[in-house]
Amino acid sequence: MELKRRSLLAAIGAGTAAAALSGCGTGSTAAGSADGPAEGEITLLTPIYENANGKTLLEKEILGGFRKKYPDVKVNVDYTTYAHLNEKITTGMAGGLLPDVLMMGVGWIPPFAAKKAIAPLPEKFATAHDYEKRVLEPSRYDGKLYALPVVLDTRIVVYRKDHFAEAGIKKTPANWAELRAVAKQLTKDGRIGFDPFSIDLRQCWETFLFANGGQLFSADGKKVLFTDSRGVEALEFFKDLIKDGSANYAKKTDPGAPTNVQTGRASMMMTTSALWEQVREQNPELLKDDTLGAFVLANRKPAMLQGGTLVTQSASSKHPAAARALVEYLATPESILGAAKQRGSVPGLKDLSDSSYVKENKFVDLSLQNMGAACSEGGTAAWMEIREKIKPTLEPAIVGGQSAKDAIAELGRLAEAAIGRM
C-alpha cells in the first residue's frame, strides 16, 4: 500500500520539519527541460578532487573552463569522501536537496537508476569520445546511459623486485597455486609474502572471484551467482594464505600510510593503480631504483577489478540543461586527465593512453594494457545494500573460525533477500 502525502513523510522521516512544512520531499521537484539553454545555479556533489590540490584543480582549472563555456551557469561544489557519500545522498534525498550533478562509484548506477533518482543521458555522449571498450558498461542500466566515467581505479598486484631476485624467483605467479608457493617462499623474518588485506576486503574478494572465473550476479541483476564453488574457493584462498603464514589480516596498513611493499614488510600486495602516486610522494627511491613491479591477478583467467568515479545527473534537478552540460564537461579528455593525474587514477579514454602521464605511471599503463581483463562490481539494483554486507559477512571466515562455505552461503542469503526486497 503506497502512502499518500509522500513528500511530507519523506521530509519528516529525516526529521526536517522545515522541509516538511515546505513540502519538498523525494521527487517532488519538477524538473525543467534538459534541451533548453544551460543556465542557473547548480550543485555538484563529489567524493574526489580531495585536498587543496584537488580543490584548486576542480574550481580553478576544470570549472574555470566550464564557466567560460557556460557563463550563465553557477556551480556550487559540495565536497565529501566515499565514506560519507551515502549519507550525503540519503539526507539530500530525504530533505529534497539532492545535488544536480553527482559523482558516484562504479556499481552505484543501477540502484539509483532503478529508483529514478538519476536521469538518463543522451546516447550521443557515449560516442563523443573514444572510451575504452568496457568502461561504459557500469554507466548503463536497462540499456540506457546514465553516467560518464571520470576516472578509473584498478586492483592489481604490486611486488618487490628485490625480494623476488633475492629468492631467485624469475617470473610473476600465473595462477593461485604459484602465487601461494611464491608467497610462502618469500615469507621470512617477520615479512609476509603476500598482503591481500590492505585494500577493502570486499574489493579484494571480488578480484579473486573474477580471477577464478566467477561472477557476482546474473546479467539482469536478479540472481546471485557468487555462491558457487568459485566464490568459496576465492575466500578459501585467503584462509590458505593465512594458514601458511604468508598473509596476516592484522598486518594490513591504513589508507594513506606507507604500504607493506613500500616498507618491505610484504613482498607482494593487492593494491590500486593509485599506489604509484603515493610511492612517488613517500618513497621516490623505490621508483628510481625500479624496485616495484606489478602484474594482474590470474587463476582460471586474468582479472582486474575496475572501479572508479562516474558523473551523473539528478532526475530532480531544476536546471537539467545546466546539469547535463556539467556532466558532459567533467567527462572531457582535459577534465579526465587532470582528475586522473591528481589521484593517480586511470583515464578511461583511448585518446589519453599515449599521454606522458600514462607512460610515466607504470601501474596506470599496466591497467590500460589489461583493460580486457577488467571486471566491475555491482550489476544489481540492490547493490547499495549488498555491498555493505560483504565485508562484515566474509570477515568472520578470515579472522574467526567460520568456514568459507558458510560465510559465502550467508552472504548469498543476504543478497537474495536484498534483491527480493527490490
Binding site: M1, E2, L3, R6, L9, A10, I12, G13, G15, A17, A20, T26, N86, E87, T90, T91, M93, A94, P111, F112, K115, K116, A117, Y249, A250, K251, K252, T253, D254, M384, E385, E388, K389, K391, P392, T393, E395, P396, I398, V399, G400, E410, R413, L414, A417, R421
Partner: protein, 330 residues
C-alpha cells in the same frame, strides 16, 4: 555502637513547606484565579517557544520514526506500510539469520560496552572525585585534565587513539616493546578490538562522572561527618555509611545518563573500527546508522531505533525501581 544513630543516614522525603497543610493533589487541582491566572498565562507564554521548539525538532522526528518503523522506506521511493515486517526481520532467523546475528551481536556488544564503561567508569569517577575533594595540590589542573576528554570532539579523540593503537608505530605497542611484549593489532583483533573501544569510552566519559560526583560531595552536610568523627567512626566507615548513601541521587543520575550515553555509543565505533573486525565491535547505534545511511533502509533503521528506545526505557525503569529514583538526602 555510639555511631549507629548518626551513621544510619537514610534518604528522607522532602519536608512540607510551613503553612502548606492541604494535600498535594488538592493543591495541584486548584484553579488559579486573578493574579494567579495571569501569572500562569505569562508562564505558559514564556515556555511556549521552548515547547514549540521541542515539539518540532524532537516530537515530530520521534513520531515520524515510530511511524516509519512500520514502513519500507528507502528515501528514493515513498514509504510503503509493511506492518510488523521490519520487526519480524529482526527476529525471523529462518530467512535473516545474519540480521539477527548482527542484531544480537550488536545488542550483546552494547551491553558489554555499557557494563564496562558505566559501573567501572562510575567507580573511577567517584574515586577521582574523592581524591579531588581532598586538599590535593593543583587540583584545578587535575580537574581540567580529567574533564578535558568530555569537551573534546570524539572524532579528534578517536583519531588520537587510532594512532595510540596503531600496531606498527602506535604509542601503546611502543611502550609494550620496552618491556619485551610484542603488542597485538588492537583494532584488527577480534579479541582486543572491543576492550580497546571500551577503554576509549571509559576514558572519555570519566570527566563528567567525576564532575557530578564532585558537585554532590561538596554539597554533603559536614555536620554528619563531624558527629561521626566524635562517635569514633573511621574514614572508611564514614564513606560507606554516610557518603555513599547520601550520594544515591547523584549515583542514580550518573547511572542513567551514563547508560544512555553508552547505549548510544557511535562516534568511536565509526572512527576506530566501523563495527569490525567480524562485527566484534558493532553496536546498536552503528547498525542503525548502517541500515539508514549506507543501505538506504530507513524504515528498518527506524524499527531498530524503536527497539533501542524500548530497551533503554526498560533499563531506566528497572534502575529506578532498584535504586529508588532520585530520592536522597535533603
Amino acid at each position: 555502637m555510639g555511631a549507629v544513630s548518626v551513621l544510619k543516614a537514610r534518604p528522607a522525603r522532602p519536608p512540607s513547606l510551613p503553612g502548606n497543610t492541604r494535600p498535594a493533589k488538592q493543591r495541584a487541582g486548584r484553579t488559579p484565579t486573578g493574579p494567579g491566572r495571569r501569572r500562569q498565562r505569562a508562564g505558559m507564554l514564556m515556555v511556549a517557544p521552548a515547547l514549540l521548539h521541542a515539539a518540532l525538532w524532537i516530537g515530530l522526528p520521534v513520531v515520524a520514526s515510530v511511524f516509519l518503523a512500520f514502513t519500507k522506506y528507502d528515501v528514493l521511493t515513498p514509504p510503503q506500510f509493511v506492518g510488523l515486517d521490519n520487526f519480524k526481520e529482526m527476529l525471523d532467523d529462518a530467512v535473516f539469520r545474519k540480521s539477527i546475528v548482527n542484531t544480537v551481536k550488536s545488542i550483546v556488544n552494547t551491553v558489554i560496552y555499557t557494563f564496562f564503561t558505566v559501573p567501572f567508569g562510575m567507580m573511577l569517577g567517584l574515586l577521582l572525585a574523592l581524591a579531588l575533594h581532598t586538599g590535593l595540590k593543583a587540583r584545578g589542573i587535575f580537574r581540567t585534565a580529567i574533564f578535558l576528554p568530555q569537551v573534546t570532539a570524539t572524532v579528534a579523540i578517536a583519531l588520537v587513539w587510532l594512532w595510540i593503537y596503531n600496531p606498527n608505530n602506535g604509542l601503546l605497542n611502543a611502550l609494550l616493546s620496552f618491556v619485551g611484549i610484542d603488542g597485538p593489532a588492537w583494532l584488527s583483533s577480534t579479541t582486543w578490538a572491543l576492550p580497546s573501544v571500551i577503554l576509549v569510552g571509559v576514558w572519555q566519559g570519566i570527566g563528567m562522572k567525576m564532575l557530578i560526583y564532585l558537585a554532590a560531595l561538596q554539597s554533603l552536610p559536614r555536620e554528619l561527618y563531624e558527629a561521626a568523627s566524635v562517635d569514633g567512626a573511621s574514614k572508611a566507615r564514614q564513606f560507606f555509611s554516610i557518603t555513599l548513601p547520601l550520594l544515591k541521587p547523584a549515583t542514580f543520575f550518573v547511572l542513567i545518563t551514563s547508560m544512555i550515553t553508552a547505549f548510544q555509543a557511535f562516534d568511536q565505533i565509526y572512527i576506530l573500527t566501523e563495527g569490525g573486525p567480524a562485527n566484534s565491535t558493532t553496536m546498536m547505534t552503528y547498525e542503525i546508522y548502517k541500515s539508514a545511511f549506507r543501505e538506504f533502509r530507513v524504515g528498518y533503521a527506524s524499527a531498530q531505533s524503536l527497539v533501542l528506545f524500548v530497551l533503554l526505557m526498560g533499563f531506566t525503569l528497572v534502575n529506578r525501581r532498584i535504586m529508588g529514583g532520585t530520592r536522597g538526602h535533603n
